[in-house]
């Protein structure tokens, strides 16, 4: 029951953010790259969004832009900080989202000899 409530709250936030973000300009990749470094996103998620022990993978995220913004504004219980609009305006997040879209997808490990068991 508690899980359902959390999911409901998350989707409600996502929907709200879709509305709130409807007027956003398309993200600027270059500015997103700058913000990704300046704001320390790479500290937990890696410089190419590979993720790891400290943060989730961002490369090839399934989140939409509004969903991404809603997530950053109100992350589920974890060590992920909430980035308020005062700290990262929606447009900044849109730029970061655009940059994240440039991260390459995982390769087929079979093509990398070192990863073959």
């Amino acid at each position: 029951m508690k899980t359902n409530l959390v999911l409901f709250a998350f989707f409600a936030l996502t929907f709200f953010s879709v509305s709130a973000s409807a007027q956003l300009k398309p993200g600027n990749v270059e500015n997103g790259k700058r913000l990704f470094a300046f704001n320390g996103c790479y500290q937990c998620h890696g410089t190419v969004g590979q993720g790891g022990a400290a943060g989730a993978r961002l490369a090839q995220t399934k989140l939409t832009q509004p969903g991404f913004i809603a997530f950053v504004r109100n992350p589920p219980p974890s060590n992920m900080p909430p980035y308020r609009a005062k700290i990262m305006p929606d447009q900044d997040l849109a730029d970061v989202y655009a940059y994240i879209q440039t991260f390459p997808a995982p390769l087929n490990p079979a093509t990398i000899p070192l990863l073959n068991p």
């Binding site: 320390g40 969004g49 390769l107 490990p109």
Partner: protein
């Protein structure tokens, strides 16, 4: 001026000392080197009295006899005046063998070397330090060993009698109760006032340190006792008999078996289970008998990483959890308000019944809080895990009917399939950032594995900071292949513990690998010189993320939590202005070194070159600039 070699007082004094020595030799197992040294002191064999003021044996010689009787291979120490007598006796009277003196540049290095050594060798290393400034330096490393349940044998120099203190240095290096400052994280200590007292307490200390839960101990070697002639008669060294480890009570173990066999979704959580290689085999047998997943906290080499039942399963769906000497299991069974929110609320995330088997509560103390939250177990068994597992396995087997075995096999097949998929997923995730610079920790781990997989290798660093990529990609099967981490999360452990572990590995011809965090190395880098000086072969590959990175992330979280922005998280945490040249530092200490390496394509060839040096007996370091985690 030297006294006359014919001085009758000196001769009587010599005979008194020789008689005491002979008495001791008759009652103790005097090592061959010690016997040779005693023989050399006899005037009948030298032909004339030596040109010294006194040729009586000092008390420190007897202390070394005691030390030798305990089988120490090494004594790690930064030299200090308060134990100069024992130092001289170890290196001259004792022939600098068993123990061999290891020259350390910091007492924290001595203690952490002993910590790493014990986790490979299964027994303590002797370390020595001033009872004041030396123990102050060593204390963080001793605390790490305490939290990690590792035996470290500390001998502290001190001059208790004011009449024996010469000058200011010996006053400021003296203390009423030398072990007091570390007593909260020592299992036992004593301050002997006679040599016979030293012998008894030294043997007792060893026995206590080596009875699970293993822990550090300390004995004070008084300066006057060390340096004055042996005056006590009939000195003897007590026989050391180690205690059998405490085993869980049989009825409780039977009850645990009933709960595990009846469970639909049991999970085994392994903390510090294996004290010896046999511990791995026992845990494998229990897991396979129950067809239950093993969630390994990787505090020791408990369970093969590629075993089909090795799992990172969440505990939420478990109905019975078997906790085997775990650390902070509470955090896996409960949720707390995240660091990004104010206030603190907690709630359980699993309703599983908990069976807790651990010896640690035999040795709880109050001040330091390493015991963690109270776990509210349904069944609590005080006992050493490795000693208790055989009985538990036996009881589980007795309860398994043919029908139950079939059900467990079906459950096991699902776990195996889920784990196979998880491992495939890990291989795919390892490709993310494969060619990135800074080098990804997955790439670093894969490159390393490619070079060592056909060797008898030993990873002597924790892989927590590398997103556990070695555990996710490498095939860990043997006890010496992984030793866990600091225990007390005290940074500065990594480099010296790796050197100590590498020293233990040396006689077995193993290839020792250390993934060395940059922040850690800066605490006491002089241990690199110790490795070079004592020809301790070891490959260190830097995880150089140019920061105290965990704290950088925390600072960013605080900036957000307090709504004050993100731009300051490098202040006080980054190691980037200027960048630290670890290859030059290592070369300066006498290691083979390369770097900084920023292109992942250069890493493989550099590893080949460095490993060749390590195989030739030299420590080597590669400075690789890496992703944060």
């Amino acid at each position: 001026m030297a006294k006359s070699k014919n001085n009758p007082v000196d001769r009587r004094g010599f005979l008194r000392g020789a008689a005491a020595a002979a008495g001791a030799a008759g009652l103790i197992s005097t090592p061959p080197v010690a016997m040779a040294q005693q023989a050399a002191l006899k005037p009948e064999t030298t032909g004339s009295a030596p040109e010294v003021t006194s040729n009586q044996r000092p008390g420190s010689d007897f202390m070394v006899d005691v030390i030798k009787s305990l089988g120490f291979e090494y004594c790690a120490a930064n030299p200090g005046s308060s134990f100069r007598g024992v130092q001289e006796s170890i290196i001259t009277y004792g022939g600098n063998k068993s123990p061999e003196w290891l020259t350390c540049c910091h007492e924290e290095s001595s203690a952490a070397m002993a910590h790493g050594y014990a986790k490979i060798e299964g027994k303590p290393m002797l370390i020595m330090a001033h009872g004041t400034v030396g123990l102050q330096h060593a204390s963080m490393a001793i605390y790490n060993a305490w939290c990690d349940r590792v035996p470290v044998y500390v001998v502290l120099g001190n001059i208790l009698d004011v009449n024996y203190r010469r000058g200011n240095a010996e006053w400021v290096h003296s203390v009423q109760d030398a072990a007091a400052m570390a007593r909260d994280f020592l299992k036992w200590d004593d301050t002997p006032v006679t040599l016979q007292h030293f012998a008894e307490s030294a043997v007792r200390a060893y026995k206590i340190a080596m009875t699970p839960p293993y822990e550090p101990v300390a004995i004070v070697a008084d300066g006057a006792l060390q340096e004055e002639p042996i005056a006590e008669k009939n000195l003897r060294i007590p026989k050391l008999t180690l205690s059998a480890p405490p085993q869980g009570e049989s009825a409780a173990v039977k009850q645990a078996a009933q709960m595990l066999v009846a469970a639909e979704n049991p999970v085994i959580v392994a903390g510090r289970v294996a004290r010896t290689p046999h511990g791995i085999a026992l845990l494998v047998e229990l897991a396979e008998t129950l067809q239950a997943p093993v969630k390994d906290q990787r505090l020791r080499m408990n369970f093969p990483t590629r075993h089909p039942l090795a799992s990172n399963v969440r505990l939420n769906d478990a109905d019975v959890i078997l906790s085997l000497e775990t650390q902070d299991l509470w955090s896996s069974m409960n949720a707390q308000t995240g660091l990004n929110k104010f206030g603190m609320e907690t709630h359980k995330t699993t309703n599983a019944k908990l069976i807790d088997i651990s010896s640690v509560e035999l040795n709880y103390k109050s001040n330091y809080q390493d015991f963690g939250h109270y776990l509210e177990p349904a069944l609590s068994i005080t006992g050493d895990c490795e000693a208790t597992l055989p009985m538990l396995i036996e009881e589980v087997k007795k309860l398994l009917t043919a029908d139950r075995k079939r059900a467990l096999a079906e459950r096991g097949a699902k776990i195996v399939e889920a784990n196979r998929k998880a491992r495939e997923r890990d291989r795919e995730l390892a490709t993310l950032g494969w060619d990135a610079s800074p080098i990804s920790t997955a790439r670093l781990s894969a490159e390393l594995w490619n070079q060592i997989r056909n060797e008898d290798w030993s990873l002597v660093s924790t892989d927590n900071f590398q997103s556990a990529w070695p555990s996710r990609l490498w095939d860990f099967t043997k006890y010496h292949q992984y030793i866990g981490g600091q225990g007390g999360a005290g940074i500065g452990y990594g480099a010296p513990a790796a050197v100590g572990a590498a020293l233990a590995n040396r006689k077995y011809g193993r290839l020792t690998v250390n993934i060395q965090c940059d922040g850690d190395l800066n605490y006491a880098p002089g241990v690199l010189w110790t490795a070079a000086h004592h020809r301790i072969p070891m490959l260190s590959v830097m995880h150089n993320n140019r920061a105290y990175h965990q704290e950088r992330m925390y600072l960013q979280m605080m900036g957000n939590k307090f709504d004050r922005g993100l731009g300051n998280s490098d202040v006080g945490t980054a190691l980037n202005d200027p960048f630290i040249d670890y290859a030059s530092i290592a070369k300066g200490y006498g290691l083979y070194a390369e770097g900084p390496i920023t292109d992942p394509k250069e890493l493989g060839p550099a590893l080949t070159r460095a490993i060749a040096r390590v195989k030739a007996g030299q420590p080597a370091l590669l400075d690789t600039v890496t992703q944060p985690r």
